[in-house]
């Protein structure tokens, strides 16, 4: 059997996805037998010139979001050269954590990072000046961060920040199938089709009505009851399951943060859940207060909607970047 040629390219990453791959342990040996790794910065080589030279990639895997022109170049090259393109991790699927940078303009981000931070003494912003130092060129920031899935068409999506061990195993199975000549289903998600709630074992009350949204340290909560009904913001209802037979954060007594992204019928995870949660606040008890009091109450419940609701999928939201005209 001919070994499949595997390439892994990086966008804006944190390194977690590399670690997630190594988490599968001995299965990595299986992978090594299945594929020839032709490009993977953490494993073999990471020069862009190298990637430009490679042709005939069977499986291209992309980590991270697209923040710079360089990230986009890697993505385009992988897309062009790969037969099967895999979005690995939440970032290539939905933009992930890096896309939270879109609450600011690129300029103000650079300004903060290179000029205004109290421990910085730079006299200029490298990205804007196209600073060249010997052979290195600092790639320009794009105007905003994009989800790679909005720029190219992926065949396989492996959401999760990072994807759990069982997702990596399933991806290795998929590569095995591919090597054996089996077709890969179109737009294949290595995740469930239903939400985290479907797999959550916590009990739910008949009616979910939240008097006050609380942070987890603010309340002594019942470990067997639904987080939401206790006023703890849990992204479970709006998030794809697949992170474990029992959802991994919930199992560890933490509410779901939403890293598997929206459900199949939903695109904008944050906006969708903003609707749901706004409705759940004092649901059924609204008539006890005036409109103004209710508005005030709702407003003070959520101080950082972008951070809390759009944490992993801002890049694919309807409003996915800073507006500056207003």
């Amino acid at each position: 059997m001919k070994k499949a040629r595997l390439a892994v390219g990086y966008g804006s990453i944190c390194g977690g996805c590399d670690v997630a791959f190594t988490d599968v342990g001995t299965e990595l040996v299986d992978l090594a037998e299945l594929v020839d790794i032709v490009y993977w910065p953490a494993v073999v080589d990471g020069k862009i010139e190298q990637l430009k030279k490679i042709s005939d990639i069977d499986i291209g895997i992309y980590f991270g979001a697209v923040r710079t022109e360089h990230h986009e170049l890697v993505l385009r090259l992988l897309d062009e050269k790969s037969k099967i393109l895999v979005a690995f991790g939440t970032c290539p699927c939905y933009g992930g954590i890096p896309a939270l940078g879109n609450v600011e303009t690129s300029d103000s981000l650079l300004q903060t990072a290179y000029s205004e931070a109290p421990n910085t003494t730079n006299d200029g912003i490298p990205g804007l000046r196209k600073l060249k130092r010997q052979t290195m060129e600092v790639p320009r920031l794009k105007a905003f961060i994009s989800a790679p899935s909005d720029l190219v068409n992926f065949d396989v999506f492996v959401p999760g920040c990072p994807p759990p061990v069982q997702s990596v195993s399933k991806l290795i199975d998929l590569i095995r199938d591919y090597s054996a000549g089996d077709p890969i289903p179109e737009m294949h998600f290595i995740a469930e089709e239903t939400s985290v709630c479907d797999f959550c074992k916590r009990e739910k009350p008949e009616v979910i009505s939240i008097d006050r949204i609380m942070r987890i340290h603010e309340v002594e909560f019942n470990e067997d009851e639904c987080f939401l009904s206790q006023g703890i913001l849990c992204m479970g209802p709006v998030t794809r399951a697949g992170c474990g037979e029992e959802p991994r954060c919930i199992q560890k007594n933490m509410p779901c943060r939403g890293c598997f992204g929206p459900l199949p019928k939903v695109r904008d995870q944050g906006t969708k859940f903003l609707s749901s949660i706004a409705s759940s606040i004092v649901l059924g008890k609204e008539k006890n207060m005036s409109d103004e009091d209710l508005q005030h109450l709702v407003k003070k419940q959520v101080l950082d909607p972008v951070g809390q609701f759009y944490r992993f999928a801002l890049a694919v939201a309807a409003f996915n970047r800073r507006y500056t005209g207003d």
Binding site: S195, V196, P237, L263, S275
Partner: protein, 656 residues
């Protein structure tokens, strides 16, 4: 014009004479909408709703094999039904017909033809997008429990009960007080015919009492309502009466020995009654009742301190061991006929009622005039029992006043005039003044009645009274005569306040339990003021009488019969139909997060085997569940998320 397409939508643009065509270029709309990929036929006509217009729609459906149509015309509230009937006759499902409102929301509100035409196109395009996503639906059928529950035993509730019972259906009539009859039982004579109120009412009361189809539950309140049209389950809390109504022979011995005197509610607190009492001799059910608040024995008869009434009762009808009971009744339909109460006179401090004995309410004066009243029909003033010689009637006490109730109570002009006339007929030497803002006498023969009262020599002074107080046995009225432009300060022997009618205590709670809405004043809202005046927006629940807003006896009775006819219409079927534009769940996509269950106003959603399930009979199609669903698993039929999105696209499209 005809084009080729797999979807075959027809668009019909109405000129509405010049109403639309003057500001909207209907030909251009017809032409441009015809270019939509799904529109295969488009036409315009002078009056689409006319017979030739309807024929045009019918023929086009047949000749062009249309799968759905859009009529761009007036508001859907006007002719949606008309055109849906037309398409149904032509063999098309009625839910494949939609109306684009280009008259009320376009041609009538804009002047620039170019702009109005562009907007008409945007609106019509959005409706084309909507109809594209519409499913063929058939009405949902629900079994019907052939029984009516009437809440409130006043003249409205009685009339509705009798109409329904006489047509052969079972009725449960629930009344909060110890007797039915309501406010009308307290009245002396009624305008404009001066019929004696008791003569009108008491035969009807006994008819209710003896009707084999009517089950009467008094001293009772509806505490919980479950279910839906055709199948309501109602919990009724009946207060303990301690008296066996069948055994009581009305000998009145108990009343004779009872040591506790309290003010009589039936006599509007102008006389005393005992703690064991019958509200009035013709009360129905015809039995005594113990007022547990007034009785010496503590609440719930937990201890028996005094047993005088039981000891004296020869019929052995009194039993202190009885307790309140929760009665459960089933009914297919409900009529709300909860009436009104008078605005509390204390709220109008400047008018002095409650503070001064001879400033009384209109209902108190009614009791003074009534032959069965505390003074046997001789109107004596409360302070000293003298018959007043000079009387003031103060209209609009609490009505048409933004500090109190800004609405007109509808009947006060008439009953104040009636009271003045009744008094004056007995005491022709008396001097009577009506202080009014406007005289409203719009009912049949009402204006003539007012004329008759004026001819009798009763004075009318146009102007709002500012202050009333009593000093040294004289009631002083400050006001203004706006016709003469003079200040008025005059002394009277007594003043009668025509207090406004207000929604009764507890109506908001009851409405909430029933799932019906009420306006800012607490009056029950009707589904449509003109076309569906006795229906509430909740299917199977109707409203009759003053519960819906102030009105006179005539209108109340007519409305009660109207509600009864709607009830009978429903009860004449074995099954009832329900709007099919309900929520639907894609079970595979649902994860049972319970948010839809929590938001549904009708408890129509339950979780069955790990996924939400909609009870279609309960669902009213508001779509709250669809908006809260985080997984997009629940959709409102014919207003799905996809339809909404494509409509948004269509309205945002720039004109070419």
């Amino acid at each position: 014009m005809e084009r080729k397409s797999t979807e075959r939508i027809g668009v019909f643009v109405c000129h509405c004479g010049r109403n639309i065509a003057e500001t909207v270029d209907v030909e251009r709309v017809t032409e441009e909408i015809g270019e939509h990929p799904s529109v295969v036929f488009s036409e315009h006509y002078d009056y689409m709703c006319s017979q030739p217009g309807q024929d045009m729609v019918r023929d086009a459906i047949k000749n062009h094999s249309l799968t759905s149509i859009v009529v761009a015309a007036c508001s859907p509230t006007l002719h949606e039904k008309t055109f849906r009937d037309v398409v149904e006759k032509a063999g098309m499902n009625r839910y494949k017909c939609e109306i684009a409102n280009i008259r009320e929301q376009d041609s009538w509100v804009h002047t620039d033809k170019e702009e109005a035409t562009a907007k008409a196109l945007r609106i019509t395009r959005s409706i084309v997008e909507k109809v594209r996503g519409n499913r063929e639906l058939s009405p949902i059928e629900v079994d019907l429990h052939k029984r009516a529950l009437i809440i409130g035993g006043g003249i409205a509730g009685m009339q509705a009960s009798l109409d329904i019972a006489n047509a052969g259906h079972q009725v449960v009539l629930v009344e909060r007080e110890a007797t039915i009859g309501g406010h009308v039982a307290k009245l002396a004579e009624t305008f404009p015919t001066l019929d004696c109120a008791s003569c009108i009412l008491t035969p009807r009361m006994s008819e209710v009492a003896n009707h084999p189809n009517i089950k009467l539950i008094v001293n009772a309140e509806v505490v919980d309502v479950e279910g839906y049209v055709g199948n309501f389950r109602v919990k009724i809390l009946k207060k303990a009466s301690y008296i066996d109504a069948d055994a009581c022979n009305l000998c009145a011995k108990c009343e004779g020995v009872c040591p506790e005197n309290v003010l009589s509610g039936f006599d509007e607190y102008l006389s005393f009654r005992k703690a064991i009492y019958i509200p009035f001799p013709q009360a129905v059910p015809s039995t005594y009742t113990i007022d547990t608040e007034a009785c010496l024995n503590p609440e719930g008869m937990k201890a028996v301190i005094c047993s005088k009434c039981r000891d004296v009762c020869e019929a052995d009808a009194i039993n202190y061991d009885r307790s309140s009971e929760m009665i459960e009744e089933q009914a297919g339909v409900i009529v709300v006929a909860t009436g009104y109460q008078l605005y509390a006179p204390e709220n109008i401090g400047e008018y002095g009622a409650g503070k001064y004995p001879d400033i009384i309410t209109s209902l108190q004066f009614e009791r003074l005039l009534a032959p069965n009243g505390p003074t046997s029909g001789t109107p004596r003033r409360p302070s000293d029992g003298k018959i007043p010689k000079k009387l003031a009637f103060i209209h609009c006490a609490g009505s048409r006043d933004e500090n109190h109730n800004d609405y007109c109570s509808s009947i006060c002009c008439m009953y104040s005039s009636k009271q003045a006339l009744l008094f004056h007929e007995h005491y022709p030497d008396s001097e009577i003044y009506n202080f009014y803002i406007d005289l409203r006498a719009s009912g049949k023969n009402y204006e003539q009645f007012i004329k008759r009262v004026q001819d009798e020599g009763i004075n009318y002074i146009r102007g709002k009274v500012s202050k009333i107080f009593e000093q040294d046995g004289k009631v002083t009225v400050f006001g203004i005569d706006t016709l003469k432009g003079e200040r008025i300060e005059d002394q009277f022997d007594m003043a009668v306040l025509a207090l406004s009618m207000v929604a009764p205590a507890g109506i908001r709670d009851l409405a909430t339990k029933l799932g019906i809405s009420y306006d800012d004043y607490g009056w029950i809202s009707e589904e449509h003021p003109k076309l569906r005046p006795v229906e509430t927006p909740t299917a199977g629940i109707f409203v009759a009488g003053v519960a819906h807003g102030p009105k006179d006896i005539q209108t109340t009775v007519a409305q009660a019969s109207g509600a009864a006819s709607k009830v009978l219409d429903m009860l004449s079927h074995d099954v009832i139909t329900h709007l099919p534009t309900v929520a639907r769940v894609e079970r595979d996509a649902c994860s049972a997060c319970r948010l839809c269950v929590s938001v549904c106003p009708y408890s129509a959603i339950t979780i069955e085997d790990g996924a939400a399930s909609v009870n279609e009979a309960l669902c009213e199609g508001g779509g709250l569940c669809a908006a809260i669903c985080p997984s997009g698993a629940i959709e409102l039929t014919n207003m799905t998320g996809i339809q909404m999105m494509s409509m948004i696209d269509a309205v945002s499209e720039e004109p070419r």
